[in-house]
Amino acid sequence: MSKAADIELASVTKRYGVTTAVDAISLKIKAGTYCCLLGPSGCGKTSTLRMIAGHESVSDGDILLGNTVINDLPPARRGTAMMFQSYALFPHLDLVDNVAFSLKMKGMEKAERRDKALAMLRVMEMEPYAARRPAQLSGGQQQRVALARALITDPQALLLDEPLSALDPFLKVRMRAELKKLQASLGITFIHVTHSQEEAMALADVVVVMSGGRIEQAAHPREVFNRPATAFVARFMGEHNVIEGRAAGGGEGTTRFEVVGGASFLAPAVREAGAPVAIAVRSDKVRLGDGEPGFGFTGLVSAVEYRGSTVQVAVAAPGIDEFSVSVDEAEFFRAPLSVGEAVPLSWSREHVHVLA
């Protein structure tokens, strides 16, 4: 295997006509990292991946692999390989010829390239199907063939465009584990585009959360989950409640802020009066019941959802939208709540996370 190299994006921009899909993003991905580009559709994550792959031109900025600027290199000469969303296997070729395709393009002898392709199919445990056409395979098998085809070029980085989106939920989890294992054994950089935060958290060493063509946060999944940088990240990662308001006094490292409906909360940060303040509280850290003033409110139960080990209680209050509490199942059924009931909520000071 070739040596993995760092990938660096230096204020990379992609414009389509007047719209900016990717807005001057800078990012450094260390060699051998499993990096997930995460975001809702239209956030620029796929454009970013395609620019790294060379299937989309860079409007501005530089992409570096190792110490080389690869902006103008054709895809095959960048040292990257791409796995396409629908796998893009050649329907008219059997698996061996699919995997050997890039070797054929290089002009390698037929016997030699078929041997190499078979060896790669063996690694992917697809050798028994070597003579089949892609249409005769299941989704998971197609993915393995697509991986084999991408890896036969011995890339320094593998680029995966929503690789799991075509699979059913069970297979998704299984192929996810396979991807992680493969990346660990190859030691090369994987850049994986996804819109599923669950997928990103399960796989990534670095999660890059994108929105509107910009990077909101790039960090280890644990960091992103526990300390989301922005309200967008907190909302997108889920299981966070975001409360936004304006500062109205405070002191000693805390700020009191008011939301539109009139309720006021305390945030462990210093802000000037009138400045916007946003905090995030994880829904599993919210307790039912009264607590310290400024760290809770009373709202009306708007929905109750049973999730197995927990019960998700949605609570509505003026100025606070989409506040949910996840309560331990046993605890919830000791004193069940019903929709429309008023319920006091509270959280402790250390669970308040101030957002930028």
């Binding site: 895809p75 095959a76 396409f84 395709f101 085809r149």
Partner: protein
């Protein structure tokens, strides 16, 4: 099952069966039957004789005519394939918007808004001895004398046939090209394929069914053509269709019928050959 329930599928199949029966099967069987009849210069007699076939199969003239027709078929097929493929390729891969694709495709069909006889006749003032092309060439000093081969020649026949039949090649090829997943082309490029390699390793293999269907159209049309050959060759070239037309004008219906049966067999063999090479089922 009640009687009506058992009859229902037959009733549902009946209209199509009726159409195929009346307009295809009955005429074919009639031709087959008449091909065994006897005839003289004024009428035909129900009979069972094989000399219509003997005359067709063992005559030097028939063989020459068949070879001539096959020659037209091969030349026209090759040219329409070349032109048709690139027109379809251009429409499918170089025109970005569907609206523009549709507009340009309709432009391709504009010649079909007139009858094919008019389309053929319109070549005459252009290609004739004192036609537009010849006078332009002479006046420009490119040739000293008008070119004779332009009209009433095999060149003219091939030209007119290419003009008439290229669209039959464009349409099915365009259809298959439009179905090629664009991600496949990116995947090929990702694997280091050059433009030419993408064409030969991805696009052409995937366009094969369209090429096969277009080829069937063109070959059958050329094999059965008589009007183009008659008009454009000025009577200097023969085709099987023309031979049959002549036989019919002499009231030799059984001979023409035998000829038609042989032609049908030849065309079916060609079509079977094309279908053996290319699997077109996924297109239908």
């Amino acid at each position: 099952m009640t009687l009506t329930a058992r009859l229902a599928p037959y009733l549902q199949a009946a209209p199509l069966a009726l159409i195929l029966g009346v307009f295809l099967l009955v005429p074919l069987l009639t031709i087959l039957m008449v091909s065994f009849w006897d005839y003289d210069s004024i009428r035909i007699y129900p009979d069972f004789v094989t000399f219509n076939y003997e005359e067709t199969l063992f005559s030097w003239v028939t063989w020459k005519t068949y070879l001539n027709t096959l020659k037209f078929a091969v030349i026209v097929w090759a040219i329409t394939l070349f032109v048709g493929f690139w027109v379809a390729y251009f429409l499918a891969f170089h025109i970005r918007t569907t609206a523009m694709q549709l507009v340009l495709f309709l432009v391709c069909t504009v010649p079909f808004l007139t009858s094919n006889i008019i389309r053929m006749i319109s070549w005459i003032p252009f290609l004739g001895r004192n036609g537009l092309l010849n006078s332009a060439l002479v006046e420009a000093g490119i040739v000293a004398e008008p070119l004779e081969f332009l009209l009433f020649s095999e060149f003219a026949v091939v030209l007119a046939m290419v003009h008439l039949y290229t669209l039959f090649m464009v349409t099915p090829i365009f259809n298959t090209l439009m179905r090629i997943d664009r991600a496949l082309i990116e995947a090929a490029r990702d694997a280091g394929a050059s433009g030419f390699q993408i064409l030969t390793n991805v696009i052409l293999p995937l366009a094969k069914p369209g090429i096969a269907i277009g080829s069937i159209f063109v070959v059958t049309l050329v094999m059965g053509d008589f009007i183009t050959v008659r008009f454009m060759s000025g009577g200097q070239s023969a085709s099987i269709g023309l031979m049959m037309a002549n036989q019919m004008s002499l009231l030799q219906y059984p001979a023409a019928a035998a000829n038609a049966v042989v032609l049908l067999a030849v065309v079916l063999i060609i079509v079977a050959g094309i279908l053996r090479i290319v699997d077109i089922r996924k297109e239908l």
